[in-house]
Symmetry: D2
Subunit: 247 residues, 4 copies
Amino acid sequence: MEHRNATAAVIGAGDYIGAAIAKRFAVEGFTVFAGRRNGEKLAPLVADVEASGGRIFARSLDARKEADITAFLKEGDQQAPLEVCIFNIGANVNFPLLETTERVFRKVWEMACYSGFLTGREAARLMLPHGQGCLFFTGATASVRGGVGYAAFASAKFGLRAVAQSIARELGPKNIHVAHLIIDAGVDTAWVRDRIKEREGKGALNNLAPDRLMSPGAVAEAYWQLYRQPRDAWTFEQEIRPFAEKW
Amino acid sequence: MEHRNATAAVIGAGDYIGAAIAKRFAVEGFTVFAGRRNGEKLAPLVADVEASGGRIFARSLDARKEADITAFLKEGDQQAPLEVCIFNIGANVNFPLLETTERVFRKVWEMACYSGFLTGREAARLMLPHGQGCLFFTGATASVRGGVGYAAFASAKFGLRAVAQSIARELGPKNIHVAHLIIDAGVDTAWVRDRIKEREGKGALNNLAPDRLMSPGAVAEAYWQLYRQPRDAWTFEQEIRPFAEKW
Amino acid sequence: MEHRNATAAVIGAGDYIGAAIAKRFAVEGFTVFAGRRNGEKLAPLVADVEASGGRIFARSLDARKEADITAFLKEGDQQAPLEVCIFNIGANVNFPLLETTERVFRKVWEMACYSGFLTGREAARLMLPHGQGCLFFTGATASVRGGVGYAAFASAKFGLRAVAQSIARELGPKNIHVAHLIIDAGVDTAWVRDRIKEREGKGALNNLAPDRLMSPGAVAEAYWQLYRQPRDAWTFEQEIRPFAEKW
Amino acid sequence: MEHRNATAAVIGAGDYIGAAIAKRFAVEGFTVFAGRRNGEKLAPLVADVEASGGRIFARSLDARKEADITAFLKEGDQQAPLEVCIFNIGANVNFPLLETTERVFRKVWEMACYSGFLTGREAARLMLPHGQGCLFFTGATASVRGGVGYAAFASAKFGLRAVAQSIARELGPKNIHVAHLIIDAGVDTAWVRDRIKEREGKGALNNLAPDRLMSPGAVAEAYWQLYRQPRDAWTFEQEIRPFAEKW
């Protein structure tokens, strides 16, 4: 592996998509800065990346705290110039309207939207002096559709999409590539498999058609392709879903 | 004027659109509940409505406080069953990304999105037992477009649109008509006239083409027409703009 | 009934929506020009309108023929200035891709899109010298969604929507109100009732919940409200659906 | 170069985007079938591809003729299984509404939409028995926006997008990857450079900022990346534009 003098930060480095993104950029020689609420949970990811010769730093991070975001990204930028920053915090909840408490509504927004704004702004602050950078945001079906029970989650995801659009229009001409990747399907996680078992019975998991669920690695690959786009043909938004998904 | 046994609540009863909506429903015989931050500023509206035989109650209201919203709507519903609730709080600001403070981002969201969620939920709680109701939200160009400098405002307006969609899908089948009216143009207010003077010079205001700006009354009329739609042909979303507007 | 010196033309004056629109504008005093392929089928509509004191002219019309459209609208404009023109031709078909013949694809386009372009252009040609006019197009779910089996129909409806948008942007500033009304549900017609019987059994029709289907009159009412909009708050697009419809 | 046993067909193999796509897939070892109205104009492309060891067949093709499309694709499929088919015919024209003749409207549709439908259907017919395939369509800004003067072009491009959507929903589950690539900017062609010279003067071309225009090669690269997507994360739609483009 050839190392680059560049940092890729992943905010929301969960066990699935976030970890896959971290590995994808590490394997390309980036110094990876991975942040999540409980940084200790990053130990397996760190072990993996380091075993294959990659560089990674794991940090505990409350992305709802401006000072945390600022410090995290600044530290990353000090290791090597911050070239890529991917915001990947989700907060998928579903409640009937009358049972959606103000606390849930606010918390989901803080996690999935407000943190994304802080991340985008602080990453931009570091990238602009470098004259380049990639700022990517993970979207979902709920980024473009307010379904039943999703008042809180869709509101946050719609809001994040607006943040991404606004930054893209302002900073594209300054050579910052902003993109919003809409994941329009269930990703293959323990949580999604549990939902399938609940809805369709235990057998469903054994008979799961190949590629019915999106693998975290495929999401990471989509981000990698966005990173590699030449600047005369940048994508702001694209959606991905498995081949057999209904939409 | 024939009075109805029905309340129309306007949250965000500012001097222009909000006041026009209040008058439009008052003139149709509704008991109007008008709320804004500083309720004393509602005195001219109250005088107007009462002079023409209408019923109106003016209240100070911080729509970002759950208890305020709940109390306001409950009081309205006690006067007469809450049939119409219109959320009309705006918070239009424009800042370059790096100058958008976390305080601005949060405050704009609290005013334009979070308050809208509280309003929708609490109005629904009162309307559902009545078996009917209309819940309308004022949108803007920024509800569907994240333009340069609008990270905060567009994020809040996108978020409000998601809330409206989600409630519409959940409560439509329960006979609550939810609509999102996108105002895709400048409304004729002192603030907009000042912006035109700034950009185009003093003369521009004198030469303002008739109907170039949307009158607050026309917005109120659009809401009235939404109210009157038969339930076999409800609109969730429509946009309005003056005839000569570029879009 | 007070007569106006104004013509409302309905192209695609079928037994349901088209007829309802014709009646709605007739009852407001418009001279109605109603065209459909087989003009003889308009006899009951003519009888209805005339019985209630309205003015109506029924014509056979192949809307895919430029000369027919031109002659029809010109004749209408000679009776009284053409103020309203509503294009209402549908061509809803569903075929698996491989069974969609080129003949079907072309014919559906000619009926639902090409005819709409001719109608829009020829109506505009007459309205522009009058300095005003309303040009409305009936859309459908398929105007914004290309579902399975709808390659032909959705392609034509998407295409019609583009025509409407383009004309709206060009002629709005010239005081021509162009609107595109998306009917996002089944309308109460014999054909739709047959589909329900097929899918859900005979009993379904007897137990049809009130307002589950959209009445043609409600569509006509939506057009009437569009007509009445003040020009400082015109709607280009709105969708309508029954309260209990899933979307 | 390692040859694959697979054909990539390009319908609308013009001098810029089409040629770049042909080269991109040839260099990856595909047998390329390139079709355009006047097949003789493909001589330089053929020479280029063959010089670098690629395989290419050039054919004259009127894509508006069902028999031509069928024969072209079948011949390609006989050389090697048809795996990729890219429809790339444009027909960008701009006329004021009243000057848009029915001949122009029909011809633009036949070139940009009807041909695309024939291509999609006939390619699918060949790919389905192979159990796989990629069917890509070139879109434009006018695929999602009906601007002034674009009644004909936008109508055709909207229509093509509907075709692509409908096929994607039907054939995705059958392992056919359908995508619609929206080119939201001017591509670097002689025609676009002439327009810039006209609008901005001769000097503008010399001072053209690097990457202001999208290179045909970047479009081809976007298609290549779509081809390479794993089937658990397919994109249906994405847009591309140069970094400094306003949108």
